[in-house]
């Protein structure tokens, strides 16, 4: 594994993360159970437990610019493996939200763009409309053809509805967005 040089540190980073995630970082033994169980670990730039260590060292910029925080899908497999009940998925949620709010460079902009397409769809219809999400995402990513055949097949099998399933009380949905800080 690569050595990580500690050049600049942010002293209150660990506290910030603990406050947002309600997770106790000091309970981590670095036993690697989370990283061993994580189905996405091989594609991450830092293993999940390494992220915890980096937070403890105050390596805020490195952590918030990592791809790990975006590749985590919150499947909670790590939580099932962890002997000390460290809520890794909640830590990852908090790190993503910090990266967005504090305008760090997003290592996986495609993943954020997908999340925003989903949230936009919920904003518009109150429910997710998969065809619209896929189309908007593909247009935003300028990648119209990679799943073109798959899309046609799904349409033929009636897996993708042309029209969305909608909530009637649109105002009610909008008010939830107003209450919650809207779209990032």
């Amino acid at each position: 594994m690569d050595t990580i040089e500690i050049i600049e540190t942010s002293g209150d980073f660990a506290k910030q993360v603990e406050k947002l995630s309600h997770a106790n970082l000091n309970r981590c033994w670095h036993c690697l159970a989370c990283s061993g169980g994580c189905p996405f670990a091989e594609d991450m730039d830092f293993l999940p437990n390494v992220i915890i260590r980096m937070i403890q060292f105050g390596l805020k910029e490195k952590v918030l610019k990592s791809s790990t925080i975006w590749l985590c899908v919150g499947c909670n497999t790590c939580s099932m493996e962890c002997p000390n009940a460290v809520d890794m998925a909640a830590i990852m949620d908090s790190l993503r939200q910090m990266a967005i709010l504090e305008h760090y460079l997003i290592a996986e902009p495609g993943i954020l763009s997908f999340h925003n397409s989903v949230i936009n769809s919920i904003f518009r219809h109150g429910r997710t409309h998969k065809l619209e999400i896929m189309m908007k995402y593909k247009i935003a990513e300028k990648d119209l053809f990679s799943d073109f055949n798959l899309g046609l097949k799904m349409l033929a099998k009636k897996k993708l509805d042309l029209l969305p399933s909608k909530v009637k009380d649109k105002k009610g949905i909008k008010s939830l967005f107003n209450l919650s800080g809207g779209i990032s």
């Binding site: 189905p39 594609d43 989903v118 949230i119 429910r127 998969k130 939830l176």
Partner: protein, 290 residues
Amino acid sequence: MTLKDLSYFPGCSLATTAKENNASLKSFLAHFDITVSEIDDWNCCGSSSTHSVNKKLALSLAARNLFLAPPDKPLLIACPGCYLRLSHAKMELNDSKEKAKEYEDHFKKPFHKDIQLLHFFELLVKMNGKGLLKGLGGRLKGLKIAPYYGCMLARPPKMNKQKNHYGLIEKTMAALGGDPVQWPFLSTCCGTFLSVSKPGISEKLVNRIMQGAIKSGAECIVTACAMCHLNLEIRCRPENRLPVFHFSEVLSLALEKNASKNWFKRHLINPEPLMEKRQLILCRAPIKGE
């Protein structure tokens, strides 16, 4: 608790891409005279994307459904992802008086902290407890099944005191005459939304899972998650194709003339040759809209 009259949260997947999951679930329950009534005007539970980038919005979206659901009936939640989001919101509102108050003020309604959220697995356990599933064995006749849970039974540490139902698909399938296989990938995540934004990663995981099922000698995979079902079907390479059934479809197939042929036409990996081979094609005529 009465099981006959439940309120119901289908979720976006079951309302759209996985209509066959929705229909088969209802058809199976109707056989036991269990009626489910959809919460009026329910909205998306928030899904993975919302809690990934805006925790408050995730709580707000899930909370709206909790406030809409009739407090006096158990709420059956068909999708395991939605179940987790709604249970998490219920826990957050129960843990914080301020949060509960904020949403009570917003929705101008009281929050019913004891509202019962019912996972489909929990319902099945209760049905079995009442002896409803007795005497159904037979129709699946040795069908070799790889039970697949994906991440549906994993939950955050705060919720780890709640009941877990690992082994339920195996137990149920065996009781109905099926032959569940042992295999290593039963709780490996399918990649969920990375299937769209990082298809390479999803493809790698899905094909590992499918190959594992083939190597274990399974003839099909049975999953209780609509998202897993979709990902396994769309990211599977041709050489690793194996029919994937929704749990509810197989339950329905185990009953005499309960399943509709139309459900299986919506599958991207055609399960009909296997159904023919295993003489599971005694389906009823489709109902309008199926």
